[in-house]
């Protein structure tokens, strides 16, 4: 009797401890970044160009660059991902081939991001000749988040009750009309959640854009998709590794980190809100 109680107490304590350590690790990252970075955040930091060899001024080019890259990535991968998901879940005959394709897609999301960076360098920068540019970076990030989008879209499509499809087909709709008119409109909230999480991932990645899109310093804002750009994650990396005035640049790096982490958390929050609304609105 007593022994069982002790074992139970030890078990519970271990569980509590694990949760505590996990929360502690996460919150200390936030705490650390806020303490170190909040000092440099002000309106000027967010709205002006870097000055004096990036020892002063703001991070506008990096914010804008991350915005362009993430937007480009989603513009490329969202349609592609949705169409791929529609094919896999609605059209393809479920069998070995589809299972292999799914396995491939799932494995793609486990590939280290630096591999995507090298792939983008080889394909987009060199082979297609897009150079180190917004376009190359956005396409590379697009491929990186493609598995996320496909999986989220597929799950959203599978969640639509079969009875909707049957009702539509029995009314003389074609398969495509059924997908367009009944399945897809109801799957959109789920697909959007996946897309937004994808944007968050794209905004935070460094390795895929390292060789394909970013540069240490732009003297002007980009004017076309073939221009090099700065980006928030790479800006942090550059300031910490290539800076020559670390006493001035390290605080800027922390400020940039705080901006990036807030951005990503905000994007994820948006996804959670959409998902929550979707669950609430669902009546079938």
């Amino acid at each position: 009797m007593k022994k069982r109680k002790i074992v139970q107490t030890i078990g519970f304590s271990l569980l509590y401890l694990s949760v505590f350590i996990a929360i502690f690790a996460l919150s200390s990252i936030l705490y650390f970044v806020i303490i170190k970075g909040a000092g440099v955040i002000n309106w000027e930091f967010l709205t002006s160009m870097p000055k004096e060899g990036m020892t002063k001024g703001g991070i506008v080019p990096a914010i804008l660059g991350t915005f362009y890259l993430a937007t480009g990535a989603i513009l490329f991968s969202l349609p592609l991902g949705i169409f791929a998901a529609i094919y896999l879940s609605e059209y393809a005959k479920q069998g070995r081939l589809v299972r292999i394709v799914r396995l491939g897609i799932n494995n793609l999301s486990g590939v280290p991001s630096i591999v995507f960076g090298l792939f983008g360098l080889g394909i987009f920068v060199k082979f297609f000749g897009f150079g180190v540019s917004i376009l190359s970076g956005a396409l590379t990030l697009g491929i990186l988040i493609l598995p996320t989008i496909i999986r989220a879209s597929e799950e959203a499509l599978l969640a639509i009750p079969e009875s909707f499809r049957e009702a539509s087909l029995a009314l003389g709709a074609t398969k495509w009309q059924t997908i367009k008119g009944v399945v897809l409109p109801n799957a959109i909230p789920g697909i959007m959640t996946g897309a937004i999480l994808g944007v968050g991932r794209a905004a935070g990645e460094t390795a895929p854009i390292l060789f394909t899109a970013t540069t240490f310093f732009c003297s002007r804002l980009p004017s076309s998709i073939f221009d090099e750009i700065q980006a928030l994650p790479y800006h942090i990396y550059a300031l910490m590794t290539e800076g020559t005035h670390s006493e001035l640049q390290v605080p800027i790096a922390y400020g940039t980190t705080l901006v990036l982490i807030s951005l990503v958390l905000l994007i994820n929050l948006l996804a959670i809100i959409i998902r929550y609304k979707m669950r609430k609105g669902k009546k079938w």
Binding site: P161, S163, F164, E166, S168, A170, L171, G172, K283
Partner: protein
């Protein structure tokens, strides 16, 4: 008066994988009458019904032999376009399945997919009236169909099936999810609908079959045991098994 058969089946067999679900079904569904398909659960009633508008095509590993004719045309012919077939043979399901759209858009949906542009609201009104739902919803056509009661949803689904004026309406236990009052309304509706449509209804409710149908088919384990006037089936069945079933000895 001799009525013409609208749908006939000849030696209809169906397998799901290795499971022989329908065995040599020969039946004639008469025009402008209500034909009831009765039988215990799992006897193949719904599967039979879904052969008539080829909804079983959606299920993998289905094998069908024999013939199903609609107005003399074999619906399993290669030349038969399944979309056209389903526009001629409408279906109402067991569980009301309106789309998560407005009442109006639910009924307009079959018209929109056919590319109809003019007179949609008039045809929606007509279909809702024919389904005895117009008076209840005419002031709130734009609210979500999912906010209607179960019985109203089912009548909405009937209106949705009627709006393109099919020749035949298949009903797969349309009242099994409804309360007695909603059921009575739908049965009443069936009587007015048969003037214009040929109706085939699957039901596991014996009283309902007796009340609404003129012909009845009794299926047991995938075989057609008896097919005759409803009156004859319920008062003087030819087969012992039919008698056992309708008197409630099994099923």
């Amino acid at each position: 008066m001799v009525n013409k058969d609208k749908i006939t089946t000849e030696n209809l067999n169906l397998w799901f994988g290795k499971n022989h679900v329908l065995k040599d079904i020969n039946i004639g569904i008469e025009e402008n009458k209500i034909t009831a398909i009765i039988g215990p659960s799992g006897c193949g009633k719904s599967t039979f019904l879904r052969c008539l508008n080829r909804m079983n095509d959606l299920i993998d590993n289905t094998k069908i032999t024999g013939k199903v004719s609609l107005g003399g045309e074999n619906v399993y012919n290669n030349r038969m376009d399944v979309v056209t077939l389903r526009r001629r043979v409408g279906m109402v399901f067991q569980k009301p399945n309106p789309f998560p759209k407005s009442i109006f858009e639910n009924v307009a949906y079959p018209l929109r997919i056919q590319g109809v542009r003019n007179g949609i609201s008039e045809r929606v009104r007509k279909a809702l009236s024919a389904a005895a739902l117009w008076n209840e919803v005419k002031d709130r056509l734009n609210i979500s169909a999912l906010s209607l009661s179960g019985g109203q949803q089912q009548r909405l689904c009937i209106a949705r099936a009627l709006v393109t004026e099919p020749e035949v309406i298949l009903m797969d236990e349309p009242c099994s999810a409804l309360d007695p009052i909603a059921t009575a309304k739908i049965e009443e509706l069936l009587f007015t609908l048969k003037e214009q449509y040929t109706i085939c209804i699957v039901t596991h409710n014996m009283q309902q079959a007796a009340r609404v149908s003129e012909c009845a088919a009794f299926l047991l384990l995938g075989e057609l045991i008896e097919f005759n006037n409803t009156n004859k089936i319920f008062t003087n069945p030819a087969d012992k098994r039919t008698e056992d079933y309708i008197t409630g000895r099994f099923g």
